[in-house]
Amino acid sequence: MADAVCTFCGNVCDDVEFDVNTQKGKRLCALGLAKFREKERIKSPMINGKEVSYEEAVEETAEILVNAKKPLLYGWSSTVNEAIRYGIILTEKVGGVYDQCSSVCHAPGTLAIIEEGIPGGSLGTAKNRADVIVFWGCNPLEAHPRHPARYSAMAKGFLIKSRKDRKIVVVDVRKTKSAAMADKFIQIKPGYDYAIISALRALVKGEDIEAREVGGVPKEVLAELADMMKSANYGVIFYGLGITQSRGRDRNVENAVKLIQLLNRHTRWVIWPMRGHYNVVGAGEIPAWEVGFQYAIDFSRGYPRFSPAEFSAVEMLLRKDCDAMLVMSSDPAAHFPWKAVEHMKNIPVIQIDPFPNMTTLLSNVVIPSAVAGIEAEGNVYRMDGIVLRVKKLVDSEYWSDEKIVHEILKAVERRL
């Protein structure tokens, strides 16, 4: 058994163990165990289905990127910081567009930060201090299985000595598996998050609301929740894609942030997104310090510009605005709306990934990579922005993402 740091979800659990020989693990959840277990790999670098060397694949990639007018370099949430940094510099060099998985996930939360900021805390503050935790539009038991035990619902710490010291609320449109751990489950109508948060803001302020129910929730239930929030010593809202991907999107988050601002005039509250992939936070942090923005960044003018309406991957593909695409450790062919996927069929696509996926089927150049956290090390950002170093447990013939992107960058620089 070797100490490992899990590279599946945004929890980045650093207390797990895995034995590559026996394929057994300790303290891993079902997702983590699946992550560490051996599975089908891309066998070799390929150009148009033909097996080639890494060097040839790198040269071909550089050729495609340099010759493209506006290449889209997308993904980045399932690799290490070192690779992301080279990826940003690469995008700047080729005058392309950088976008990352947030743009179809938690990026509305970033837009809300631009509007209102974010009153937040690290996971350790929830563990040590939170006597009320609200999971809003998220389903940790299926998406971040160890979150409740390690960081939130069941975690013990400085002020919280047992599960009884804490109240758990789950707000969702359906009765998810996570609803079972709640002291209070509030089922809302799809698309009514914004209205419900507005009602809560009014109630927390001490104002009455005229409606007898909002978004399927009776006024009395909302009033109870508002009271519970006000009387908490330290509360946390963890929110998920139920808020960012439904009607209102960034405005839902913004409204929730305003609710937290208000609650801090009475007691302490923080709010934080349940980020999905293990390094989706890094995919935004690194471009932020390198070029000033988190995602949807265009370099075609020689300097970075941020515009999600123009430069997010889905918008770029829908408008057929990119003439080549590099996909780093992601599967847009499976996870983008169909019309966006269709444009991927018309342009050269380069894929860097350990595993074959639907994007592989559309890719002209395929570059297999070492699995970060098993075959390669590097830094990653946990969902709360805390950096952990994921480990290399076993040697591999595969190149790491860091090396692949660095080599592509060098090959591009030779051509410029």
Binding site: D14, G124, T125, N128, W289, F299, R301, G385
Partner: protein, 560 residues
């Protein structure tokens, strides 16, 4: 090898005041004339030009989670394009800059060292990743201690040995340079929605006070004999009447001595120098603070000058940031961090006609003028008071009463009655301003090879188109303000990086960190650490901190 010929050298550490001399550089160091072969030297004609050491910014927020969420929150800051991508990187930002821009802009101003002022301990890996992305300058980061639970425990127990061990352990793990303290006890109180209001307020759930935390940390720091002293952001920041807390805090260290440097550095004092009882009658307490600082020989400060225009407030002083958010209604980021402390970020604009902003601007200058030049460092607490790229403005203001009078005409008249600035006659000399930006910050930090041009110093050199023997800064303030922005040369480790204000190349500086483990028994806290991590942390002790091999160019300074 370089031969910098006929320059007019100002080098306060070595007592050189505008003397025509040659400077020789070999292997990145300043050497004696006989150590170079002149025919192998590249000659730099510095005839009638000012030759000084590269500037040292000892307090700026340049890397880590705070500035980065600031960038995220404020894309409007990134509409200023300083340089498009080419051989070098695109360089972006108005006041908040991207990491490449931070290094480039320091170099373009003749600054060659910069210290990140506040790293949340668990955020150290992030800070170092960003520091590693800042080109040219040498760097270091200060680790924040003042609201960390183990510090409360060891201060409450008066356990000096364990406090020393904890500092040594933490500096190694965070690859930190020194002990930063921010609103000690106050940030912990904020976890319950409160703050501490004076040095004797007890921290909730801990029988310890700010007075005890500061005193214990200063004593531990001195017993460890770290290169830098405790670096303190006082309690009550931004509160009218706080100058008394500041004075009381400074006096805590009277009687503690260190022969080579101060025993306490109080930072961005402008924000802690307010008299009055509310924002209605707020006034300057700078003169009183200056008196106390001048009367002691073991305390240094930096200004925290406010610059009119855009800024972003970002500190570990989370309760202050919430107050600022309520005051201005602006966007607000808060980040409570494990059992270590917190932070906050709020955009702000300093407007000349706003009485409070004008007061802040005036207080910074009062401190710079009234405190003796061997104990006040020039700073804007970037980006809290504004951009560091305005240091030349501050230098010119300190040197010219006429410039100050002109500026006073455009600011709120409130400063006329609430501060002593209009009456201050002091005009700092060029020598003094070079001291405040070079030799003093280097001495305060304990960076012996920085801030001067003596033999053995790092060859970090700035050359400006100013002839000290032919310059009257009091009347030629516009020349001073202009030329300090555009060095004829910036030389870093003996390499020419900037010529005539243009950036020629990108190099990578060191990151200094302090290893004090030999001076303490880290083993003595082993079981305590295991308990802290098991009970309160969300990461394992083994995975906490930064390893040297992750860093681009670490330089360990061992304390013996």
């Amino acid at each position: 090898m370089l031969w910098i010929k006929n320059g007019i050298v100002v080098d306060p550490k070595n007592g050189i005041d505008a003397e025509r001399m040659d400077i020789f550089v070999k292997n990145g160091k300043i050497v004696n004339e006989e150590d170079v072969r002149k025919e192998d030297c590249r000659v730099i004609d510095a005839n009638n030009k000012l030759v000084v050491a590269g500037g040292v910014d000892m307090h700026a927020h340049i890397a880590g989670s705070k500035i980065n969420v600031g960038r995220t929150m404020r894309p409007e800051e990134m509409r200023v394009v300083r340089q498009t991508a080419g051989k070098l990187r695109a360089s972006m930002g108005r006041v908040l800059l991207t990491s490449p821009a931070i290094g480039y802009e320091y170099a373009r101003m003749g600054y060659t060292t910069a210290v990140e002022a506040a790293t949340p301990p668990i955020g150290a890996p992030h800070t170092h990743e960003e520091l590693d992305s800042i080109p040219v300058v040498d760097k270091a980061s200060l680790t924040v201690f003042g609201n960390w639970h183990p510090v409360f425990k060891y201060a409450a127990d008066r356990d000096r040995e364990k406090m020393k061990a904890f500092i040594a352990w933490a500096l190694e793990r965070t690859k930190g340079f020194g002990v930063k303290v921010v609103n000690p006890g106050g940030v912990e109180a904020w976890m319950y929605g409160g703050n501490v209001r004076n040095l004797d307020d007890e921290v909730p759930k801990w029988s310890v006070t700010p007075r005890e935390i500061i005193t214990e940390l200063v004593n531990a720091n001195e017993e460890l004999n770290l290169p830098h002293s405790v670096h303190l952001h006082c309690n009550n920041l931004g509160v009218p009447g706080n100058y008394q807390t500041t004075i009381e805090t400074i006096k805590l260290v009277s009687g503690i001595r260190n022969d080579s440097r101060q025993v306490l550095h109080v930072t961005h004092v402008q924000f802690n120098a307010y008299a009055g009882s509310s924002w209605r009658d707020v006034a300057s307490g700078a003169a009183e603070i200056a008196k106390v600082v001048n009367s002691m020989d073991n305390v240094t400060i930096d200004m925290g000058q406010a610059i009119f225009g855009h800024a972003t407030a970002m500190t570990s002083d989370a309760p202050f940031q919430f107050t600022l958010h309520k005051l201005t209604g602006s966007r607000w980021v808060n980040k409570d961090t494990e059992i270590e402390g917190g932070a906050g970020i709020v955009p702000i604009t300093y407007m000349p006609k706003n009485p409070v902003h004008a007061l802040q601007w005036a207080i910074g200058l009062e401190l710079g003028l009234l405190v003796e030049s061997d104990r006040v460092v020039l700073s804007t607490d970037y980006p809290n008071g504004g951009p560091y790229t305005e240091y030349p403005y501050v230098m010119a203001m300190l040197m010219s009463r006429r410039m100050r009078e002109k500026e006073l005409d455009r600011v709120s008249p409130y400063v006329q009655k609430a501060t002593s600035l209009p009456a201050i006659e002091v005009e700092k000399t060029l020598y003094e301003v070079i001291e405040m930006t070079r030799s003093l910050p280097a001495r305060v930090m304990g960076l012996e090879s920085k801030g001067h041009l003596g033999t053995g110093a790092d060859a970090d050199i700035a050359i400006y188109n100013l002839n000290p023997n032919d310059l009257d800064p009091a009347s030629q303030y516009d020349v001073v303000n202009r030329e300090f922005r555009v060095p004829a040369y910036t030389i870093k480790d003996g390499e020419i990086i900037v010529k005539d204000g243009n950036l020629l190349k990108e190099t990578w500086g060191r990151t200094y960190w302090v290893d004090a483990r030999k001076k303490a028994s880290v083993d003595s806290i082993d079981s305590d650490l295991n308990e802290f991590f098991t009970e309160y942390y969300t990461v394992r002790r083994e995975n906490y901190g930064v390893a040297e091999y992750w860093m681009r160019k670490p330089e360990r300074l061992e304390v013996n």
